[in-house]
């Protein structure tokens, strides 16, 4: 897809934090040199292990934090130029976050109408005060919360986890966003509710053309939902491309490991001694690939330089020296299912 059709594009985005005692000057590389784009009406899944920098990417995209280096473009305009309050408000209307923890989405002391009305007031000047409630009920209905006229007056504890997460989506949708940043929106929910929310995201894309950055550690749901998949490891983007390629023919050894560990509830998991991996070094990391400590194919050169993300086939990018020389992974996934 040509760059100008991208809704959001990140170019070499980096975010570092200071850690340890203040005098130590140690830097934690939460996100390092990440470039990716989200097309209009597309769902991009961002997957990767705990601490790999996914939520930090979301915070940067949501303008809740500023990058240490690099630039993010939304509708072609750089975010570093969005500094005045009205422009920020306009951005917050177009780009909404849905958080992971449905237990903290809403303030327990207020009925859910409270925060929804506030969002309507702030982000929907086109809706007259007298019509706000009706508009909210329309959105609640759209996310599958019915009867909306009754649900709107409930307290958070009177809703199940899945219902609360739907309220989070309703609140995001209310401002008619172009992009929803969903940070692990289903990981606290059980499977049958999870499916409902995944279907909801697919419907939003298909019916309203909303783009979604779907952050998850659940590969199976990324496969179920996403058009594009981006894989992060220790702050770096290591693989990026169409879901069919990245998940069916993974090229980076980390993606391959991730896929080989996908649990299937019908297959009883047998525990072996393998792979109780060390956490990757993200505090003042050395030069070299950050996965090399755990990589079965690591070579000397992997420690000498850091592999950059580059195309391995059209639209499919990998940050690995060895991958181009290897045949596509004997993926655990049977191809006849395609």
């Amino acid at each position: 897809m040509p760059a100008d059709e991208d809704l959001l594009r990140a170019e070499s985005v980096t975010k570092h934090f200071g850690v340890g005692p203040p005098w130590s000057r140690r830097r934690l590389h939460a996100v390092d040199d990440v470039s990716l784009s989200i097309g209009a009406g597309r769902i991009v899944a961002l997957v990767g292990e705990s601490g790999s920098g996914k939520s930090t990417v979301v915070r940067l995209f949501a303008m809740l934090a500023r990058p240490t280096a690099g630039e993010i473009y939304f509708e072609g305009r750089p975010l570093s130029k969005v500094r005045r309050r009205p422009a920020q408000l306009a951005y917050r209307r177009k780009v909404r976050i849905v958080f992971q923890d449905p237990f903290s989405v809403s303030n327990p002391a207020y009925r859910i109408s409270h925060s929804l009305l506030r969002t309507a007031r702030l982000h929907r000047p086109d809706v007259r005060p007298a019509n706000r409630r009706a508009e909210i009920e329309r959105v609640l209905d759209e996310v599958g919360l019915s009867p909306a006229s009754e649900i709107i007056d409930r307290f958070p504890f009177e809703l199940s986890g899945g219902q609360r997460q739907r309220v989070g989506f309703a609140e995001a949708l209310l401002s008619r966003p172009r992009l929803i940043l969903a940070d692990e929106p289903v990981s606290m929910l059980d499977v049958s509710i999870r499916i409902g929310l995944l279907n909801l995201m697919a419907d939003l894309r298909d019916r309203e053309g909303v783009s979604v950055l779907y952050v998850t550690h659940d590969i199976a749901s990324a496969w179920y939902l996403a058009d594009t998949v981006a894989v992060m490891y220790a702050g770096k983007l290591v693989e990026y491309g169409p879901a069919e390629r990245v998940l069916r023919a993974p090229r980076h050894p980390y993606t391959q490991l991730l896929l080989s560990a996908v649990p299937d509830p019908r297959v009883v998991l047998t525990l072996t001694e393998e792979d109780v991996g060390e956490p990757p070094r993200v505090i003042d990391p050395d030069e070299g690939c950050r996965f090399r400590w755990r990589c079965p194919y690591a070579q000397d050169r992997c420690a000498e330089a850091t592999p950059a993300l580059g195309p391995i086939e059209v639209g499919h990018h990998v940050a690995c020296f060895v991958a181009p020389e290897m045949a596509p992974a004997p993926s655990s996934v049977p191809t006849e299912a395609l």
Binding site: G20, E49, S192, L259, P265
Partner: protein, 326 residues
């Protein structure tokens, strides 16, 4: 109570007293866990798993109320103990990893300070020893001890969860109660954490109650599995046996509702219908209106616990189904 039981729950019932009536979140639950054992509890959102754990650990607050039942831990009934006696047992003899790590950690104290607080409440341990032990447990869950100085908001979601697990292991308790402790972790980390827990369990001999909505997690490690629906345990028995042949239709549904990476991309529906309204006292089986296998009598008779094929199942048609499945 069996000789070596570390935990024995009998006829435990919990209500939330609300304006619109009593919500019966835990309904006459019986459970037993032997020393060093691993009990998994699975069920949909809202089925009462957290409430059950809170009731076991005596952490319930109003409007929740234990209506009846006993919770024997090492021979003492926790329900009858006072708060000061309980405080003495918590962390040291049994510890709890809560579902929402964000709410359980103190946002304005560093990880190290919170571990120090927990240690100091339990007698004299030297500062050096506390630091050593804290670093050790953090490493056990894959967190660099440099984060002892970090505040909760400086950790990723999964790191917070792992930090909670580390805290629960500070004192080598006899029982660790975990509520969805791995829901923020990726599959590789989940697996390695399960392996760690299992290994620590073998080394230190503590028992685990492990709540999850992800059945695949407990498949390989759990000795016993309890399946909860609408506040009741509907199937209870050896994990492997339940996995290879679920006897309650709800258990079977849980096992089938997963999106699979192996499968063609097609729309899934999960278990159709929604969880029961726990305010209502209904006559029949609570799963009947969602059950693919329900008959007329299912809406009339409250299914009693039946002993069959080495487990307990609450379903009046279970015998029929068991023989059909061969």
């Amino acid at each position: 109570m069996a000789e070596d039981a570390v935990l024995s729950v009998r006829n435990l019932t919990v209500d939330y007293l609300t304006e619109s009536g009593a919500v019966r979140a835990v309904d006459a639950v019986d459970l037993e866990l032997h020393a060093g054992g691993f009990l998994g509890i699975v069920g949909e959102s809202g089925s009462g798993k957290s409430t059950l754990l809170f009731a076991i650990a005596q952490l319930l607050n109003p409007p929740a109320e234990i209506v009846s039942g006993e919770v024997h831990f090492n021979g003492r009934d926790l329900v009858t103990l006072g708060e000061s006696q309980l405080r003495h047992l918590r962390w040291r003899e049994f510890s709890v990893v809560m579902q929402s790590a964000m709410n359980a950690l103190n946002p304005v104290r560093s990880l190290g300070a919170q571990m120090r607080d927990a240690c100091e409440e339990h007698g004299k341990i030297s500062a050096q020893e506390i630091r050593k032990r804290s670093s050790e447990v953090l490493r056990m869950v894959g967190i660099d001890p440099v984060h002892l100085r970090s505040y909760p908001h400086q950790l990723s979601g999964g790191m917070r969860q792992r930090a909670m697990i580390a805290m629960a292991l500070l004192f080598e308790p006899q029982l660790v109660i975990m509520d969805e402790p791995t829901s923020s972790l990726d599959v590789v980390a989940q697996r390695s954490l399960m392996i760690q827990i299992k290994r620590l369990q073998e080394r230190l001999g503590f028992a685990v109650v492990f709540v999850t909505h992800d059945m695949s997690l407990v498949g390989g490690v759990g000795d016993e599995l309890a399946v909860m629906y609408g506040g009741k345990i509907v199937e209870l028995g050896p994990t492997q046996r339940i996995f290879s042949k679920p006897l309650h239709p709800y258990t079977a549904g849980l096992l089938e509702a997963f999106p699979s990476i192996q499968a063609v991309r097609r729309r899934l529906t999960g278990i159709p219908g929604s969880p029961p309204d726990l305010r209502l006292r209904i006559a029949g089986c609570r799963f009947a209106d969602r059950c693919p296998d329900a008959g007329n009598e299912c809406t009339r008779v409250d299914p009693p616990e039946e002993q069959i094929d080495g487990r307990l199942v609450r379903c009046i048609r279970v015998a029929e189904r068991a023989s059909r499945a061969g």
